[in-house]
Amino acid sequence: MKFEKIRFERSGGFAGIRLATEIEAEALPEDQKKEIAELLDDMDFEELPAKLANRMPLPDEFVYSIVVEFGDQKYEVMAGESALPGDAQPLIEILEGIAKQRMRKKD
């Protein structure tokens, strides 16, 4: 799935400390851009809202918001950790990793 921009946010958790970043596809190394595009494909990101577990949020679990933009198309998902299907995990880990790295670098 092609993307130009991904907006990632992790909120909540016991600490309630927000972790967020905006990822421009252009700014990513070629291999990472490809990896993310493939993960979006593998998990059918467009169909993700329908695959979320219909359950109440668990106390203190993280809440993820991911917005994928390509041209004038925009796909958004917001869900608690436990509501996301397992195949969303690899993507979350990559995005979370990028966000954590940037947070620590911003000085």
């Binding site: 946010e9 909120s11 909540g12 958790g13 016991f14 600490a15 309630g16 400390i17 927000r18 809202p49 979320l52 219909n54 359950r55 109440m56 949020p57 668990l58 106390p59 203190d60 679990e61 993280f62 809440v63 918001s65 917005v67 925009k74 958004e76 998902v77 917001m78 869900a79 608690g80 436990s82 509501a83 947070m103 620590r104 911003k106 000085d107």
Partner: protein, 383 residues
């Protein structure tokens, strides 16, 4: 009297919010609102909520008293993991295991000795904890059946670590276990104001567990939640301050503690299930003021009032104003109308901008649907 607006039960999990939170077109927003109103969908949510409580009920094997098991997830995700310390076992060589064991023990003791509550469900439910959940997991949570703790940033070089292990602070353990108590009692929905009350109850009893463990009066206590959780690389004393919400940390990497301590600073957001870890600062401070006003040990009078309110009065959709009114009423039941205790409760809430008699409505008295519509610009802002 200002009437409360409870236009709809506040059962709005995040996967519905995602539709609304998009910066979509007017038509998309309207569609989202219609979806939200759809009763079919709401019934589904309620069923999900009931299933959630039922699941916990099933694991609530009645025990005689204090019964604990600590499990090790060995950095994996499957729960509960491998049992490593059972009730009565000698200490482990693993510090996280011992902290989870001891912390749930002193939490049990507070509820049993002071409030005559026999564990999470008041029926001797076994207290299960899992430590070493995942790798680099900066969190702890209650999954409806048990407590779960990550190790913080153990996977990073020491100079880059922001979080220590989540069992390090006894009030975090009390906080998580109290989520279990709330699930069996008020069943406060985990979003917007009911969610922030749910969070605040966990902070209140988490802090009381720590204060009693340290034998501290209200004046002696630090009222910090999660002291010791942040590493020395972070400029902060903990995660939240019940005494001065918004002052627990201010750090170039982590940012600043976002908690308000007064209704005038209430944060409208869809993140964090509607700001449950943010706006909890308001009821947290009301409790702190009440307890300090009364002096002595906070778990004795203020804690008793809050506990009875949680057990007998609050409901799934209770708002801050309801909590203020109900703690005020409970204080009269327990200590008498016009008693010092009741006046302290009144003062506690007044200082965060909520009047118990409802003559001055707080800026944010509405239900969560109303809050939501305001966030996305579909309802006029309140004056």
């Amino acid at each position: 009297m200002t009437a409360h607006l409870h236009p709809i039960n506040c059962i709005v999990p995040p996967h519905m919010l995602e539709k609304i939170a998009t910066n979509g077109t007017e038509a998309q927003r309207n569609l989202a609102i219609e979806t939200l109103k759809a009763s079919e969908r709401m019934r589904g949510q309620r069923r999900a909520l009931m299933d959630f409580s039922a699941a916990a009920f099933r694991v609530a094997a009645a025990g005689a008293g204090k019964e604990r098991i600590v499990y090790d997830a060995k950095n994996g995700t499957s729960l509960p993991g491998t049992p490593v310390r059972k009730e009565g076992d000698p200490p482990s060589s693993d510090v996280a295991v011992n902290e989870a064991y001891d912390g749930s023990g002193v939490t049990y003791d507070l509820f049993k000795d002071i409030y005559d509550r026999n564990s999470i469900d008041n029926n001797g439910m076994r207290m299960d904890s899992t430590v070493h959940y995942r790798k680099g997991y900066d969190n702890a949570f209650w999954n409806g059946e048990q407590m779960v703790y990550g190790d913080g940033d153990e996977d990073l070089p020491p100079a880059e670590r922001l979080f220590n292990r989540f069992t390090i602070a006894i009030d975090i353990i009390g906080h998580e276990l109290t989520h279990g108590v709330t699930q069996f009692e008020a069943k406060l929905v985990y979003s917007f104001q009911p969610g922030a009350l749910n969070e605040s109850m966990s902070d209140v009893f988490g802090s009381l567990v720590k204060q009693r463990h340290l034998n501290q009066t209200a004046a002696e206590a630090d009222w910090i939640i999660g002291a010791g959780l942040l590493t020395e690389n972070v400029n902060g004393v903990g995660i939240r301050s019940m005494k001065e919400p918004g002052t627990a940390y201010n750090d170039p990497v982590l940012g600043k503690d976002p908690q308000p301590g007064h209704m005038k600073d209430y944060v409208n957001t869809v993140s964090d299930n509607g700001g449950v870890h943010i706006n909890s600062g308001i009821p947290n401070r009301a409790f702190y003021i009440t307890a300090t006003e009364l002096g002595g040990y906070a778990w004795e009078k203020a804690g008793q009032i809050w506990y009875v309110t949680l057990r007998d009065k609050l409901g799934t959709n209770s708002q801050f104003q309801d909590c203020a009114n109900l703690t005020y009423a409970v204080a009269a039941d327990l200590f008498g109308a016009g008693s010092l205790e009741q006046m302290a409760v009144k003062k506690g809430w007044a200082e965060v901008g909520i009047n118990v008699d409802g003559t001055t409505p707080p800026p944010e008295p509405g239900g969560c649907l109303e809050s939501l519509l305001r966030i996305i610009g579909a309802a006029p802002a309140k004056k």
